[in-house]
């Protein structure tokens, strides 16, 4: 083939790659390790993005009510499981950019998790209150765990996977924490802890899968379980951080994630205060209280744990602050845009992606220079989830 014919061939070949609707990777193999999902909450759509290319690869409609949405990934990093507000559980193939399966499994749902072995996907439901467990390949219902208490059903929050093919979750209305062992998937074995505290609103599991920590709305403090020793029961930590101070109105619940842990401490949101609380992860005693810009919603450590990034609830939601985990002071205050809903670090932490809902924009920042290096358009973006979560306990 002569050179000009070769050039023509390449032009057509690469031109075909850019055809709208062309599946990601269809014309050439690619991995999924640098991919992610961005929730477009108003449109009920998700974007598939590449952190290498800093680009949107596809937009997938038809995911129902995503006004609150959460995502986990299959163990091979190929599929995203999207948990929607309307109880929708949608399995998305990231490479073909197609919905491969979808079930409306409840009336109202808040989040989900994938089991240690990757075979099961669990959804935490508000309505009916409980956890439903599905086969991650077929989305067939495997188990239905009703969150019964006092003759009623409690909303379930803070659902995470734990080693031993377990799921751990909290009951908002009942004030309980349950551990479900799904070693035999169709017969979950439940271990229930009652009176853990009033209205647990979310929970995290430490990256090593050892400690489950639920935040309380109805009182100060967090409920902690050592999953290596569940027989020791639930322990209350940070029990009096409010110290008699009056709480501010809470316009948005904080969210707890495993990335709260950095530099031998847990960095967690204070409820109704403009504070991040620092707890020592050796003895779980309070180490410090850091005054911040607003009521924290997400407090997330960079992958290297050197800094923790914080965003805030309405009406203070135009600011992101960066906390130094050595000095426990604010290193930087950024203004990425309007209504900052979520942040996600690239797997080794060189960049962070930040969603600005009311700017209809995603912002990519360099974590070393703190400069914004790219923006992408997005329709009312909220959650950002990268595929590196596929092989992390609790994510």
């Amino acid at each position: 083939m002569n050179r000009s014919a070769l050039r023509q061939f390449c032009g057509i070949f690469f031109g075909l790659l850019l055809l709208p609707g062309a599946a990601i990777g269809a014309q050439g193999l690619r991995g999924t390790g640098d991919l992610g999902v961005v929730i477009e909450r108003a449109a009920g759509q998700i974007q598939v993005i590449s952190t290498t290319e800093q680009a949107t690869l596809a937009t997938i409609p038809g995911l129902g009510d995503l006004s609150h949405a959460s995502v986990v990934f299959s163990r091979d990093g190929r599929f995203a499981f999207v948990f929607g507000r309307d109880g929708g559980l949608t399995k998305v193939d990231l490479l073909t950019a197609q919905i491969v399966n979808r079930v409306l499994q409840s009336g109202n749902s808040i989040g989900g998790a994938i089991s240690q072995d990757g075979a099961l996907v669990a959804v935490s439901n508000y309505e009916p209150g409980g956890v439903r467990v599905f086969d991650s390949t077929t989305l067939e219902l495997i188990a239905d765990i009703a969150a019964t208490h006092d003759g009623g059903l409690s909303k379930v929050v803070g659902l995470v996977d734990a080693p031993g093919n377990r799921f751990v979750f909290s009951l908002f209305d009942a004030g309980e924490i349950w551990i479900a062992d799904l070693t035999t998937p169709k017969e979950p074995v439940l271990h229930k802890f009652s009176a853990v505290g009033r209205q647990p609103y979310d929970a995290l599991i430490t990256p090593d899968g050892r400690y489950y920590i639920a935040g309380l709305f109805g009182e100060d403090g967090f409920a902690l379980i050592d999953l290596w020793h569940p027989e020791k029961g639930v322990r209350r930590i940070l029990a009096d951080y409010g110290r008699g101070k009056e709480r501010l109105p809470v316009y948005k619940m904080p969210h707890l994630e495993g990335w709260a842990i950095a530099n031998r401490a847990a960095f967690v949101p204070a409820m109704g205060q403009h504070e991040v609380l620092v707890v020592d992860t050796d003895d779980w005693r309070a180490r410090a209280t850091i005054p911040v810009h607003g009521q924290p919603v997400f407090v997330m450590a960079q992958p290297d744990g050197r800094y923790v990034w914080v965003n805030y609830a309405f009406p203070d939601n135009e600011v992101v602050q960066v906390i130094d985990t050595e000095t426990l002071t604010i290193a930087s205050t950024l203004s990425p845009g309007k209504a900052i809903l979520h942040m996600e670090f690239t797997p080794r932490g060189e960049h962070v992606w930040i969603s600005a809902r009311d700017d209809d924009r995603l912002n990519v920042y360099d974590t070393r220079t703190l400069e914004r290096i790219a923006t992408l358009p997005a329709d009312k973006p909220s959650g950002i989830f990268f595929t590196a979560r596929a092989n992390r306990i609790g994510l």
């Binding site: 108003a42 009510d65 006004s67 609150h68 109202n108 309505e127 209205q199 709305f217 619940m253």
Partner: protein, 107 residues
């Protein structure tokens, strides 16, 4: 005289306000706040979440004054905060009225 009356009538829609003096721009902002910020707990489609549904059907049995009070003062002991520092009483009344009429209901 007639041209004056016509002129006045023509001018009325410009900068139209609702009955309680809320501008069209502000009502757009209020709807945005309702869906996105109230929607944090009540769902963007108002079908509920941590908080109950706010569709016109869900609110049928509630009186406007009780809804106004809940929004302004919150419900202590629950996750519903007071919005008195953020919204004026007129704005709350507009929201309550629009919610009850089903103006924000999804088809």
């Amino acid at each position: 005289m007639r041209s004056v009356i016509v002129a006045i009538l023509l001018l009325l829609p410009i900068g139209a306000a609702t009955g309680n003096g809320i501008s069209a721009d502000r009502t757009t902002e209020l709807e945005h706040l309702l869906r996105h910020d109230c929607g944090s707990c009540h769902g963007m489609r108002l079908t509920g979440g941590l908080g109950p549904a706010l569709t016109s059907i869900a609110l049928k049995e509630k009186s406007p004054i009780s809804l106004q009070q809940v929004i302004l003062a919150g419900r202590p002991g629950t996750a519903m905060p007071p919005w008195a520092g953020i919204l004026s009483t007129d704005e709350v009344d507009w929201l309550v009225d629009a919610l009850r009429k089903g103006q924000f209901d999804e088809p």
